[in-house]
Symmetry: C2
Subunit: 452 residues, 2 copies
C-alpha cells in the first residue's frame, strides 16, 4: 500500500520514501531485528533505520509503504549467474554433463547468442530477479554490454563480466578480442551508479596463462572485479593436475592471478591448503548449491570457507542448471545441504545463510560499502517479503522464515538505489508483457537450434 504524504510538519526532514510497520531485518553489525521497524529513504540512500515512532518523529515521507505483515530486508545479492541463459531453462535436464553441453547448450549458444538474444534473455532474467527480490547480480556471459544496459534500464544493480575464453565464442574470435570488449565495457560503465564492469576469464582450464594474466592486468588497470569459475568439478582438478601438477587454486596462485578483486564461483573441489591460499589472497567465493547439485558437481566446503574468514556469497548460476534465479531457494539449499553434508544440523544456520545472500555476497563482490545491509549511508536496496499467508503462519522467527519458508514470489516490493522497481508485486520498471512475448518468440529459435 502506497499513499501520498500529507502536509509536512516543522522540524522533520522530508524524505522520498518511508517503509514502516514491518519487521526490519537489518543485517547490520549487531544483526538487529526491529519488530516493528521502519526505514527512511531519501533519493538513493537509506537515511534512517529505527522504530516506526522514531522514524515518524524524524522524517516526513513523500511516499509511504505499509509493510505490515511483511519482513523488510536488504535486497538479495546473486554473486554468480548467466542471466541470458534463462532462454535455455528446461531445454534439457537430467543428462550427463558432456551430453547436456554438447547436444544442447553449446549448439543452442552457437546458433542463438547475439546481442538481441542477450538483451531479451537478460530482460527476462531481470523480471524474474525483480519479482524474487534480487537487487544485485554478478553476471558472466557474452555481449555483456547488453547485460549492463538492460540492468541499467531496469534499475537493477549489476556486476557485468565479459567472458574471456580460449576458443571462438559468439562475440569474439579470440581472447584478445574479448579483452578489448571487456576494456570497452569498463569504459562504458566507469563511475556508473548501478553497473560495475568486470572481466570474466571463464576458468583456469579454458584460458591459458597469458590470457589469465591479461585479465588480471585489465582488472588492476581499471580497478574492476574478476569473475571466474574455479574448481567446479573433479574433472577440472584432474585436468589441471595433469597439465600443471597443481590444483586449480594453486595454479592461479602460482601465476600471480589471485587477489581481493577475484570472485571465484563454485570452489567445490579444494583442499584445506587451497582454502588457506584463497583466504590469504582475499578472494571472494560464490557458492551455488543448486547448480552444484543439479549438475552433480559436488558440495563446496562452505563451513570451512567461513571458518577461514573468507567472504562467501550465494549464487543461482544460470537458469539452465538451476532452473530459476530464486535466491531464497539458494539460501534454503545452502542451509539444508551443509547440514546433510556435515551430518550436523548446526552447520549452516538460517542467519548464516541470510548473511551469505546479503552482506556476504556484497563483500565478495566488493560492494559492501554500498549494499548488503540496511544502514544509514548505504544505498537503498530493499525488499519486503510477505509473511501473511498460511505457509508463513505462525511466525516465531523472521530469519528462520526467510530461509526455510519464503520464496521469491513472496516478495511484495523491490527497491534498488531508492527506486521502486516492483510495488505490491506489480513490476513498474519494465514492460512485463512485452518482455515475455519477446522471450517466447526467441524460444522458438532456441527450439529449432537443438532440433538437429
Amino acid at each position: 500500500m502506497v499513499r501520498a504524504g500529507g502536509p509536512q510538519p516543522v522540524g522533520r526532514r522530508a524524505v522520498s520514501l518511508v517503509i514502516t510497520g514491518g519487521t526490519v531485518v537489518t543485517i547490520d553489525p549487531a544483526r538487529r531485528v526491529l519488530s516493528p521497524g521502519a526505514l527512511a529513504i531519501d533519493g538513493a540512500d537509506i537515511v534512517g533505520v529505527a522504530r516506526p515512532e522514531e522514524i515518524s518523529a524524524r522524517f516526513t515521507a513523500g511516499q509511504t509503504i505499509d509493510a505490515s505483515g511483511q519482513v523488510v530486508l536488504p535486497g538479495l545479492v546473486n554473486t554468480h549467474t548467466h542471466a541470458a541463459m534463462v532462454m535455455f531453462r528446461g531445454l534439457a535436464d537430467d543428462l550427463a554433463l558432456m551430453e547436456w553441453l554438447e547436444r544442447y547448450i553449446f549448439p543452442a549458444e552457437a546458433r542463438t547468442v547475439s546481442p538481441e538474444m542477450v538483451r531479451v534473455g537478460t530482460e527476462l532474467a531481470l523480471l524474474e530477479m525483480i519479482r524474487s527480490g534480487t537487487t544485485t547480480f554478478a553476471d558472466m556471459y557474452y555481449f555483456e554490454e547488453e547485460v549492463g544496459r538492460a540492468a541499467k534500464r531496469a534499475g537493477v544493480r549489476a556486476v557485468v563480466g565479459e567472458t574471456i575464453i580460449g576458443f571462438p565464442v559468439p562475440d569474439a574470435k579470440t581472447p584478445a578480442e574479448s579483452l578489448k570488449r571487456a576494456e570497452d565495457l569498463a569504459r562504458e560503465f566507469a563511475r556508473d551508479p548501478l553497473i560495475v564492469a568486470a572481466v570474466a576469464p571463464h576458468a583456469p582450464y579454458t584460458l591459458d596463462r597469458e590470457g589469465l594474466q591479461a585479465c588480471r592486468s585489465l582488472s588492476d588497470r581499471f580497478a574492476i572485479p574478476i569473475l571466474i569459475h574455479v574448481a567446479e568439478t573433479a574433472d577440472e582438478v584432474r585436468t589441471m593436475r595433469e597439465r600443471f601438477g597443481l590444483s586449480p587454486v594453486a595454479y592461479l596462485a602460482s601465476i600471480g592471478f589471485l587477489g581481493p578483486r577475484i570472485v571465484a564461483a563454485h570452489g567445490v573441489w579444494v583442499s584445506q591448503e587451497d582454502i588457506a591460499t584463497l583466504g590469504r589472497s582475499g578472494v571472494g567465493i560464490a557458492h551455488n548449491p543448486e547448480s552444484n547439485m543439479k549438475l552433480a558437481s559436488g558440495t563446496a566446503p562452505v563451513p570451512r570457507y567461513l571458518a577461514a574468514g573468507l567472504n562467501v556469497g550465494l549464487g543461482t548460476d544460470g537458469a539452465a542448471s538451476n532452473n530459476d534465479l530464486d535466491m531464497f531457494e539458494a539460501m534454503r539449499q545452502a542451509a539444508l545441504l551443509h547440514k546433510l553434508e556435515s551430518r550436523d544440523p548446526r552447520a549452516i544456520g538460517a542467519s548464516v545463510a541470510l548473511d551469505m545472500a546479503t552482506i556476504g555476497g556484497s563483500r565478495a563482490l566488493g560492494l559492501d560499502k554500498l549494499v548488503g545491509s540496511l544502514e544509514p549511508g548505504k544505498r537503498a536496496d530493499v525488499i519486503t517479503v510477505s509473511m501473511a499467508g498460511p505457509r508463513q503462519t505462525p511466525m516465531y522467527n523472521a530469519v528462520s522464515h526467510l530461509v526455510y519458508v519464503s520464496r521469491g514470489d513472496d516478495v511484495q516490493n523491490t527497491i534498488v538505489n531508492g527506486r521502486i522497481l516492483m510495488r505490491d508485486r506489480r513490476v513498474l520498471a519494465m514492460d512485463e508483457p512485452a518482455v515475455l512475448a519477446a522471450a517466447r518468440k526467441l524460444a522458438e529459435k532456441v527450439r529449432e537450434a537443438v532440433k538437429q
Copy 2:
C-alpha cells in the same frame, strides 16, 4: 476462469466439469502429455482425458475451467507428514536433534497438543496443502480423529494414522489406549470416500514387540494401512543393533510385522539386504528429502529402492523439520539430492520425481486404484499449475518445469474427488481468515510453552 455451460447439444454427455486448454500431464501408463489437452469430470470421477476437440465433441460441461497457460496434472500425494505440527514451524531450527526435541518440540507438544490444537493445526496445514496442490496426505499424530474430520470437512483426501508409542502421549497413557483409539478411528472412517484410517506405530525403537504386533493385527483385522518411521537415523540403527542384533528392517521382518500395507517413512539407513526384504514384503517407502537434510539424518538410497521395484512416494514430513508442506519442493529436492549423492545427473530425473509425487505415492499408500494419475475411472483429484510468469518462461518441457521451477504457489486450481477446493487461488473449501486467526492465537500458547 470458470463459466457456466450453455445449452446442451444432443448426443453429448452432460458432465459436471471440464478442464480444457492446458497441457495435460496424465501420468497414465504411457505417460502421455497432451498439449493442449482436456479433462472431463463427472461428480467424483474422471470420465474423459483427451484432446480438447474430442472432449468438447463428447461432453457438455456444467462448469468449465480454462487452463490456458497452465499444466493440468494429478493432485500431489504427500506420503508422510504430521499436519498439526505446522504450529511448530520455525519454532526452533539449526539445533542438534536432541536439543531441538527436548528443549522445544517435546515441551511444546506436552503443553499444547489437545483436540483443539490438532484441529486448528490441521486446518492451517490443509489450507497450505490446498494452496500448494496436495490432494492426498498421510498423517501420523495424536487425536487423529480430528485430522480425519478436518480433512473431510475441507474435502482433502487423507490417510490418518493414530500414533502408537511406548510412553504416555497427549491422547493416551499407554499403547493399549492408543490402539483402542486407532480402532475407533477405523470404525469412524470405514467406507469413507475420502478418509482412510490407519494405525501408526511410531518406530521400531519406540514401541515394543507386542505393541508392533498388535498394530499389525489391527491393520489385518480392518484392512487398514500401517504408517511407521523406519531407519531414519544412524542412531536408530545403532540402538536396534544393540538391543536385538538386527537392523530396524531385519527386526521388523523377524517379528512378522512387514507386509504390503506398511508405509515406511524415511528408510535412510538400510542395507542392500534390507532393501530386498522391504521389496519382498511389498512395503511402500515415504521419502522425505528436505526433512532428512534439515535434521542431517542422511540420504535414503532412492535409486536403489526404485531399481528393486519398490513403490516410493515423497513426503514433506512435519513442518517443524521442513519448514513447509510444499510437495513441489519435495520433488525438486529429490531430483537434486540424488544427483549429488550419486554424482550422476541422470540419477533421479524430473519424470521420476513427478512419478514419485503422484502415482508412486498413491501406490505406496495403496490408493493407486483411486488416484495418482489422470485416467477415466479414477477419482478427479486434479491440480492446475500456472506456467505463464517470467520464472516459467520459456517452457520447453512441462515435466521439467513442474519439478525444477514450479512451486506450490503456482497452483491455480485444486480439485479433490471432483470438488473444486481452490479456484484461481481462492480457497473455497475453508474460511481462510478464520483459520489463520485461530492459528495465530494458538501460536501464543506455543510460544509460552517453550519459554521456560
